[in-house]
């Protein structure tokens, strides 16, 4: 495994484009874990030395650095409660101390802890791409299937209210369905099936599939009743 240590975000992005099959290394909970989706010999661009962590409030917005850990989010009074709840869905303290919001978001896993909450919160993301820093909504980020840009930070309204829900057989098991709603925006992540966001019926866009977390029918039902009322 070859590991690169960029000195800034721009260099990281350049390396990511230059190195075939490369990946960013943030918290390491995906890259290093058993059964990782990332090839054992993939070049790794270690971004942990970049100043991308921390939570601050600016102009009514909460800015969360992409390298902020889930545990830091869980414990931050600045972060809206339903986003903190989503971070706590990662049930292991050791993992929360490692996993970052940027990593969890960029992996686009269908059992993601953070994606539904960030989509429902209408978060904006700051990115470094080859042409420099950009800002877009989390939804826009998701409209592209792959993005080699480096996530820099997330921005959400400080007073944003909402609810995060996760249905799994046990605390550490993969979730069948994870969802969040915030001020009329709904987002769903369904295991092995997909991610959808928009109105309360957004889940209908998902093509439900059987897997270890349950049957397609079960997950479809869950998505349909995920939020009370």
């Amino acid at each position: 495994m070859r590991i690169y240590h960029p000195s800034d975000a721009a260099e990281a992005v350049r390396l990511r484009h230059e190195l075939e099959g490369s990946h960013y290394l943030a918290g390491g909970t995906e890259v290093m874990r058993l059964g990782s989706s990332i090839a054992a010999d993939a070049p790794l661009i270690d971004i942990t030395g970049l100043p991308l962590s921390g939570i601050r409030q600016e102009d009514g917005k909460v800015i969360i650095g992409a390298l902020t850990t889930l545990e830091e989010i869980r414990n931050s009074a600045l972060v809206p409660a339903f986003i903190r709840d989503a971070a706590a869905f990662d049930a292991s303290l050791q993992l929360r101390n490692s996993a970052t919001i940027g990593g969890n978001f960029a992996l686009r896993r269908f059992d993601s802890y953070m994606i539904p909450a960030l989509l429902a919160s209408e978060a904006d993301v700051s990115l470094m791409c080859t042409k420099g820093e950009k800002h877009k909504s989390a939804a826009e980020y998701f409209s592209r299937k792959e993005c080699r840009a480096l996530l820099l930070s997330f921005s959400v309204s400080a007073g944003r209210e909402g609810e995060s829900v996760r249905i799994a057989r046990s605390s550490h098991a993969h979730a069948a369905v994870t969802g969040a709603r915030s001020e009329g925006v709904y987002a769903y992540a369904v295991s092995s099936s997909g991610i959808a966001y928009g109105g309360p019926d957004a889940w209908k866009e998902i093509s439900f599939t059987d897997d270890l977390t349950g049957s397609a029918d079960y997950k479809r039902y869950l998505a349909s009743v995920l939020f009370k009322g």
């Binding site: 590991i3 303290l93 050791q94 101390n97 057989r169 046990s170 550490h172 270890l212 009370k228």
Partner: protein, 957 residues
């Protein structure tokens, strides 16, 4: 590369590859408490360290990332050899048992208490959220934190983690902590992996991708060319010696239906070849060059498929009987396939391999027709249990080497003497050439009753002469290990309106998988540990076990009983509901009492004729009453949220204490020259405290301080024979052997003292702290007695020897109660309350007993609600990680979780003790199933009971 880090307050340099896992580097550099239970899944927490102030999994950190970092490992908790207050409290609380990751739990709690001296329950839960504990449950960790607070406030820990039993005893029945607790919680080098020297050879097993196939050829020529490869074992160059991996007493009630490497593979993951090489990387690389030609056969996976007409046969070799062969055996073998291994029965188990039947048994009492005719209502339902895994934190592991021309095996086993016998057999050497050392066992739960890796390692070492270390990966633990036999249990039960049960019929169909490990006895337990709980005149059972091509099955704590209980108590609950009778009243009305003759046992003798015995000491009714009181039975619990429905359930339970008539234990107790004591016990302590029990028994009998008693156990050279730690035999059998040996030594001490003192033996007695006292007031210390006995003119060292066999049963009883909430919108299930009330006779180690009850109940809750081995259509296991498989963590522990011991004294157990932990696996499934039915009206009759099944039964989708 070299990395400079500050480790445990000291500047250190770590050496390794840049991208090497920090866990591996730390262990190699001597921080041996940092272990690995999950192959870097990031789950079990055995690799937990503090990394720049935060708890992290060191498996998920690369070496280079440690540069300049502050690292703490559990070694940091020690001051010299002294443990810290958290570790001390953990030992006192009883949570240090198999202890593979106990040091990591201590580290997590120490960090928590440094930052927050007064943490809430939620904060403790969070600190332990990433640490999987299978043995002792989580409940007494809260108790340990309370004890730390007490020590910090008052200077010492005065409170106890469990009540005491039996006045007048110094140690027996009192919470003293495990005698090896400090060593275990410190992270001492006590496990097999710690005994492996550098430059030991590695072994990698090439496994079958097919569930059922003949191996027609194996070409190892390319693999052998790889530099560093020492030998490659295949079906074509290893002995054709039939044997059985089940570690049961010889002659085993399981067929010898395998050889070291079979020419027919019978499950995905079955052995095809074993490569021995200088390191694992080379072994794996070489194995990838082995060319195997398979001739696939259609597999069968379920009981239904196996029993179907014309089903493919999992075994179709010649059948041989060592005794009791049927007259038509030649005819039976006429169509045998000689490509297959023989199936050797030591005695008839009523199998019929031409119908995929490995074993069967049938029997009963009374008149079933009459019993059902008398019933006002009958239920006839079928319950299905799933294949679940023991998941010990330390996987199956073995290190072997040759020393002085003998084969020495360091093992993590429950059965060192069976390992010796079986390894000697496959190596074709006598037992005196094999030395088995049971190291500390990082979790067994039954799976280490089977000789699953020692056979191959032993053979490889004996054949190559090289030291070899082998360790299952976590994935191999799932598909090449032993699991609970999946079972389909039909129960037909009839009852009267007054609650009298008039008849019970059990039809148990078990799935033994590819080999017949425990194929008779596990399903037999489904009946032999359940039916004797009922005072019912008409009972009958049919037990049939089928071969299939699922991953192997074997022993698992509770054996067949948890499955039998799920079925029979669920059926009782359903019958009570049908009759409009309170199920608790039905249980009370039909439960056995002391003195009731258990005629049903006549046919349930593990392959031999069973013994009809009366019910002995029995705390069943006390347990039912106490549980009912705690859970407020009869009072409907209602949630504030109408979507959450709450129900209550319970299960009366029993188990056994070893196998009377079959088990055999021996021990010696030696008086050393300074008057201290060593117990040599054949018993295999799995972390449950059997060594502590032996020490306490010796200290109590010999009236010496516990601190001057040491125990050596499970070493086949040093200690005498013991059948092993299974079937809940440790306390009753090994404990009684230690008791008898201690009594023998006490008598010899008196005899020697009489000679030395010039007194009559009858005028002497022994007194604490280790002296002989005469009626005339003379005193002689054990030191003086031993010193003179071993002097040049002495009569020899004083050694007591004891053995224990018995026809008598010491049956533990109990009742488990559950209160469960179900969200009828989402199907979420919460076990709100769980009360485990058990009669263990005199609990010799009460705090360890309670923790084993919590641990066993948690396992059972796991099997009931979360855990599930899932195979694809080709028999490949899809759940090869803890996450996919779904073990319960601290978050799953019931909010109100209590274990209590009913005070009952047994007439046969050592100091009145009976077994404790297996029985605690029996209650959760039926109690939770009943509670869910009470809450929702839905009976879920299969494991795991999931939200999906409940919602579907409720017609939600």
């Amino acid at each position: 590369m070299e990395v400079k880090a500050r480790i445990n307050g000291v500047e250190a340099i770590l050496h390794g590859k840049e991208d090497e896992r920090l866990r591996d580097v730390l262990y190699r550099e001597g921080y041996s408490s940092v272990r690995d239970s999950d192959d870097a899944e990031g789950f079990a927490g055995s690799d937990t360290i503090v990394f720049d102030g935060a708890l992290r999994y060191s498996n998920l950190i690369m070496l280079y990332q440690a540069e300049g970092k502050e690292i703490r490992t559990p070694e940091s908790l020690l001051s010299g050899r002294a443990i810290n207050d958290v570790q001390e409290a953990m030992v006192k609380a009883g949570v240090v048992q198999s202890a593979y990751n106990a040091p990591e739990a201590a580290l997590a709690l120490t960090l928590l208490l440094e930052r927050n001296p007064d943490p809430s329950k939620e904060e403790i839960k969070d600190a332990l959220s990433g640490i999987f504990i299978r043995d002792a449950g989580y409940e007494h960790y809260y108790r340990a934190v309370e004890m730390v607070r007490e020590k910090r406030a008052k200077g010492s820990i005065e409170s106890e983690a469990a009540p005491s039993f039996r006045e007048g005893m110094r140690y027996v029945g009192r919470p003293t902590g495990k005698i090896d607790g400090e060593a275990l919680v410190s992270g001492d080098r006590l496990f097999v992996e710690d005994k492996v020297p550098p430059h030991t050879y590695a072994m990698h097993i090439l496994r079958s991708p097919f569930a059922h196939a003949f191996v027609t050829s194996v070409d190892t020529s390319e693999a052998e060319k790889v530099e560093g490869v020492i030998d490659i074992l295949t079906a074509f160059n290893t002995p054709d010696i039939p044997y059985m991996q089940a570690g049961q007493g010889y002659p085993e009630p399981s067929p010898y239906d395998r050889v070291l490497i079979c020419r027919k593979v019978r499950h995905v993951g079955d052995r095809v070849a074993a490569v021995i090489a200088v390191d694992m990387e080379i072994a794996i690389r070489a194995s990838e060059l082995i060319k195997v030609v398979y001739d696939p056969i259609k597999p069968v996976f379920t009981v239904e498929e196996a029993m179907a007409d014309g089903a493919p046969l999992v075994h179709n070799g010649r059948v041989v009987y060592e005794s009791g062969a049927p007259d038509d055996l030649d005819e039976y073998n006429a169509d045998a396939d000689d490509r297959e291994e023989k199936v050797v029965y030591q005695f008839p188990l009523h199998g019929d391999i031409r119908k995929n039947i490995a074993a069967s048994a049938h029997g009963g009492i009374g008149d079933m027709e009459k019993g059902f005719a008398e019933a006002d209502a009958i239920v006839d339902e079928t319950y299905q249990t799933s294949q679940v895994q023991c998941t010990p934190l330390e996987p199956h592991v073995c290190y072997g080497h040759i020393e002085g021309g003998r084969l020495v095996l360091s093992c993590s086993t429950q059965v060192p003497y069976h390992v010796r016998r079986i390894v000697a057999k496959v190596c074709s050497i006598p037992e005196n050439k094999v030395h088995v050392i049971k190291e500390r066992v990082g979790g067994g739960y039954g799976s280490k009753q089977d000789v699953l890796v020692e056979d191959l390692v032993g053979y490889a070492v004996w054949r190559t002469g090289k030291p070899v270390y082998y360790r299952n990966t976590r994935a191999e633990e799932f598909y090449a290990n032993s699991t609970r036999h999946p079972m389909r249990v039909r129960v037909k039960m009839g009852g009267k309106k007054d609650g009298t049960i008039t008849a019970i019929y059990m039809d148990v169909r078990a799935n033994t998988g590819p080999y017949g490990n425990h194929c008779l006895t596990v399903p037999m337990n489904a009946s032999s540990k359940t039916l004797p709980l009922f005072r019912v005149d008409n009972m009958y059972y049919d037990l049939i076990t089928y071969y299939t091509n699922v991953p192997p099955t074997g022993a698992y704590q509770g054996y067949g009983a948890p499955k039998g209980y799920f079925a029979i108590i669920s059926a009782m609950g359903e019958l009570a509901m049908k009759l409009g009778v309170d199920p608790l009243e039905m249980a009370r009305k039909n439960a056995v009492e002391e003195g009731y003759m258990l005629e049903i046992l006549r046919g349930l003798g593990e392959g031999r004729e069973g013994t009809v015995v009366p019910v002995g000491s029995c705390g069943l009714k006390q347990a039912l009453s106490r549980g009912a009181e705690l859970i407020e039975w009869g009072k409907k619990a209602v949630s504030d949220d109408p979507e959450w429905k709450i129900g209550k359930g319970f299960a009366p339970i029993q188990q056994g204490s070893g196998l009377p008539g079959l088990d055999h234990s021996n021990a010696q107790v030696k008086l050393l020259t300074d008057g201290t004591i060593i117990v040599l016990s054949g018993g295999a302590d799995l972390g449950t405290g059997l060594d502590t029990l032996s020490a306490k028994v010796a200290a109590e009998v010999l009236k010496v301080p516990l601190e001057i008693v040491s125990v050596v156990s499970g070493d086949t050279d040093s200690c005498l024979f013991d059948t092993g730690a299974y079937a809940s035999s440790g306390t009753y059998f090994s404990g009684n052997a230690s008791l008898n040996a201690a009594k023998d030594l006490a008598a010899k001490i008196i005899r020697e003292a009489a000679l030395q003192m010039g007194e009559k033996e009858e005028d002497l007695s022994i007194e604490y702290p280790g002296e002989v006292v005469s009626r005339s007031g003379k005193r002689l210390s054990y030191w003086k007695i031993s010193h003179d006995a071993t002097a040049g003119d002495g009569r020899g060292q004083l050694i007591g020897t004891g053995s224990f066999t018995t026809p008598n049963f010491a049956v533990p009883y109990g009742a488990h109660f559950a209160e469960v909430a179900v969200n009828v919108r989402t199907g979420e299930i919460k076990v709100l309350k769980f009360y485990a009330i058990q009669d263990a006779g005199t609990p010799i180690n009460p705090e360890l007993a309670l923790c084993q009850m919590y641990g066993a109940a948690m396992k059972s809750i796991g099997h009931t609600l979360y855990e599930d081995m899932v195979l694809d259509r080709d028999g490949r296991c899809l759940t090869t990680t803890f996450t996919d498989y779904g073990v319960p963590m601290i978050e799953e522990a019931p909010e109100d979780f209590r274990a209590e011991l009913v005070d009952v004294n047994d007439q046969y157990g050592p100091f009145g003790a009976k077994s404790i932990s297996e029985i605690a696996c029996n209650g959760a499934a039926p109690a939770i199933a009943m509670a869910i039915a009470d809450a929702t009206g839905v009976w879920v009759r299969s494991w795991p009971i999931t939200g999906e099944k409940i919602l579907k039964a409720m017609g939600k989708f």
